[in-house]
Symmetry: C2
Subunit: 562 residues, 2 copies
């Protein structure tokens, strides 16, 4: 992410690191042998009995790391999350990281992982970025087992009268594969099934991923799975997994995947890495089970949510926290000088050049996210994720802008220095937590109508003027309220690049209207997705995929992974 | 398999068993902590360094368990394999099991696993039958990553001039899903890819599964992957994974899957369970790496091969042994009285009734398999896998038939009694090994033409009169020899129910002609598949799939799995 040719690559740093056996990390957390199952020497899954036992512990403080609207390379939230936790540890605090697990699709496609970077990484990075403990594979399998059971139901007499044109459950693979976006299945004659239109999503876009991440335990997972809508029948009424009677089988396939994965940072800070739903079609946060478990094991949990505060933080607060019943105690808003210059009108190719004026203009984007977090009543600190190309003048200007607005700000040098580079940030976060009274409140009530909830988000979080609904979405608003889904929170699917639904509107756009073209029920996850613009649920591979450079050396170590 | 309502189910026996920690099992094998990685307390993967180290050990004796042409429920090869190993252990022999790992497709579809049954099972059976250590998921992922890379190659300019109508690489899922047999992908316009016909196989039918099972180490795996033919170009020349330059990425995805999995039987006999290729489109044996490792860790390895001796044993001997460079020392031919009565003309619904006459007629099927194993120059014992419904008269009649023909025979009661029920069989196998000089020789030379190799198998193994080739297959014979593939062994895809290619011809058919309708190159695996009859590479689900009864209890244990 932060490019400098003379420094080591992420994989070099990771492979040269000495990890502690995960049993040592677990032992330090007070876990016994029965509380976890080993997956090799450096990964473990917490057992369900441990999770149950932990419920009696008091809860630590949850700190959410979010960001401004990012550049395509991201603002470095994962890196700051890991480094901030390491800084807390250096300050003698009992701290844990709770993060999402990566998807193989982007790993094989475009160089870049979700395990942090530089000297702020979680380990073993090769394993975590490849198959890890198999959670995503279990979700893929459950997703596709359900699809096979639906098509088999059609083939074997269709007792539920499913309208084959209205099957909304799609198949999934944890890969970038554009050729599977739109397919026809069931060809070849009556023995091979019922022909129909279908498509594949990437696994992280599967509702099962969102369900796993919002479930509070295995029985709650089963309940949520049973509620998932897979199709509509010929009377246009929803058909659920429960109607098919296969929630038990899906739960069985997920019984290990629902257990959070314990690993460590480069500085041996314990980390739970678990679940990774898309931040557009879903809520973009690691699992409730992991964040809750971390809060029971440590005094501070550093966690993150996908994309900028308009998407990730809004969903963390309105969907995840609400569903899990916890409140964050502070928010870190990550910004880079590069991204602020982009918001100030600088083209991507010129972001390496000093440009204080553009930075000042682009600052408006950061300011809006600050105001949003303030509107939730949450203390916060802005973290400037330092890049090699940032100049002293730029850093100084940004600090002055923040100070003028009374915005608490700290430089994060965790990529270059590990936890040491995050001490100032950590101290400022601790100060915010201690000196502020928590007045946290969500911006909407779940009892508001779906339309009101969406308008509230558009106006209060995005700073837009209003929201428009396509005729399809209008009809769905009515249908969904009729199906009894009106009291669910809303999950916005919107471009991450802009506060608006138009990715070209950078900075802090005003007076814009967001168009909702379609709604999608995620009744198992427990939210209604509002789709704006084009939402990509199955990415494609680039001209020269990262896969072309991947290999193993003669000792079986990964080559070219990052 | 052996049904009796008053006895415990397989899963009850498995869940009530007390396993030893796998570290204890490993320790007894002389393995140190660095020789394996734990996957929970009862599963481990042997490390590549351990595999390398073991090469210096002397090799134990490999004993192959095969069968007559089975009923649809199977003859109980896995059960006999496990029980025979437990009997060897009871006799004080240093022994290991080497078996295939199960596929989730059949598990979700039709009740029945691949971990043995009754008191002859490998454990932990729930884990092994579900995701195990993720090997099949890694293969699915590699298979589909390759497919995505091929479609991306088309989309990004098609530099290799791949003929989109001649892409032979199919996608794969480890599920039974008939609706995916024939699909059209790439629909939706120029942004979504190039539309073309495609299909999905079950993962165990992926060439990558066969490659993993025949590879001798990670570098050999990579070499084999690079040779796999994925398509033909516009000049009708083969296009390989090596041409696409992605063998390194595929190897990286498989670097853990290539390591064999250590588990234990109910009686704590060590077992390596690794790889499970289809026995029709592929060779149906567990991995070469596992069988070789087992032979270096123990004095005796009990292993099995899919379907009857006409398929599994023939392929074990001509493909696996040849590729791995080992020779089996003895063969166990499993037969059930039920199946022999079926071969004697009894309808499936009446197999529970005593019928000595039918048994005598059906014996001809067993006799042919005995002659085949004799023609390879291998000592053998027939194992009668005892069912509750077998009568004393039937058992006595079968023993008399064998004795009249000088066929060594033993009753296997391992399903009911564990290793104790296999002592007689074990002693007879040991006697055969000790008293016979090994005169093993394959029935054909790899340097024979493809046509001659196929004719040899049809005549010598199936007892058929001749082989016919469709005009397509004739053309392929010529093309394949032209591509330099003529010197590879042949992998026959044929009905497992008959010695012929017609599943209705039971017993010992004669004078039949086998029709080869198509050839398929599996150049990575290192064989040419000859397809006869209908070969199912993606099964379907039944009207009431096993999934409907699956669940988890409040403690997270599997319910309704078997």
């Amino acid at each position: 992410m932060n490019v400098k040719s003379s420094v080591k690559s992420d994989i070099e740093i990771a492979q040269q690191a000495t990890m502690k056996p995960i049993v040592e990390i677990a032992d330090k957390l007070g876990l016994t042998d029965d509380d976890f199952e080993l997956y090799g020497k450096y990964k473990a899954k917490l057992s369900s009995s441990a999770i149950k036992k932990l419920q009696e512990n008091k809860s630590g403080k949850v700190i959410l790391v979010t960001a401004i609207n990012p550049t395509p390379a991201g603002e470095g939230k994962s890196t700051v999350t890991v480094g901030l936790a390491d800084a807390f540890q250096q300050l003698g605090k009992k701290v844990m990281v709770a993060m999402r697990e990566p998807s193989l699709g982007p790993t094989m496609g475009i160089k870049g992982g979700a395990t942090g970077g530089g000297y702020s990484q979680v380990l073993p990075m090769e394993d975590i970025n490849l198959h890890f403990t198999g959670d995503l594979h279990a979700i893929t399998t459950a997703n596709n087992a359900l699809a096979a059971l639906i098509d088999n139901h059609l083939q074997q007499g269709n007792a539920l009268n499913i309208d084959q044109r209205r099957i909304v459950w799609k198949r999934a693979l944890d890969l970038n594969d554009r050729a599977l976006r739109k397919v026809i299945v069931g060809l070849g004659g009556p023995i091979q099934g019922v022909p129909r239109e279908d498509g594949f999503d990437i696994t992280v876009a599967s509702e099962i991923m969102a369900v796993l991440c919002l479930a509070t335990d295995l029985q709650n997972l089963k309940l949520r799975l049973s509620r998932m809508v897979v199709a509509y029948n010929v009377d246009k009424q929803p058909v659920t997994v429960g109607d098919l009677g296969v929630e038990g089988a899906l739960t069985l396939l997920l019984k290990e995947a629902v257990k959070p994965n314990l690993v460590q940072t480069l500085e041996h800070t314990p980390a739970l890495i678990h679940g990774g739903p898309f931040a557009n079609i879903a809520h973009g946060c690691n699992s409730v089970i992991a964040t809750t478990a971390a809060s029971k094991l440590a005094d501070y949990v550093i966690t993150e949510a996908g994309f900028g505060a308009d998407l990730g933080a809004e969903k963390f607060l309105h969907i995840k926290s609400r569903s899990a019943g916890f409140k964050p105690e502070a928010v870190v808003i990550v910004a880079t000088i590069r991204a602020l210059k982009m918001h100030g009108g600088v083209p991507k190719t010129e972001l390496v050049n000093e440009n204080v004026e553009a930075l000042k203009v682009g600052f408006a984007n950061l300011k809006k996210h600050v105001e949003t977090i303030q509107s939730f009543g949450l203390p916060f600190v802005v973290a400037i994720n330092k890049f090699i190309s940032d100049t002293d003048l730029e850093v100084q200007a940004l600090f002055e802008l923040c100070e003028k607005e009374n915005i608490p700000v700290a430089l994060s040098e965790v990529w270059e220095k590990g936890g040491k580079g995050g001490i100032d940030l950590a101290e400022k976060v601790l100060k915010q937590i201690e000196s502020n009274e928590l007045t946290y409140a969500p911006l909407y009530d779940v009892s508001d109508s779906i339309e009101v909830k969406i308008r509230t988000i558009v106006q209060k979080v995005y700073g837009g003027k209003d929201v428009e609904f396509s005729s399809k979405a209008r009809k769905q608003l009515k249908d969904f309220e009729g199906f009894g889904w009106g009291n669910l929170p809303v999950c916005m699917a919107k471009s991450q690049y802009s506060l608006s639904d138009d990715p070209s509107k950078l900075g802090r756009p005003t007076d814009f209207v967001v168009t909702v073209r379609e709604l999608k029920p995620s009744i198992g996850a427990g939210f209604i997705v509002a789709l704006t613009g084009d939402v990509m649920t199955m990415p494609g591979l680039p001209k020269a995929p990262a896969a072309l450079k991947m290999d193993v050396d003669e000792n079986g170590n990964a080559v070219g992974l990052f």
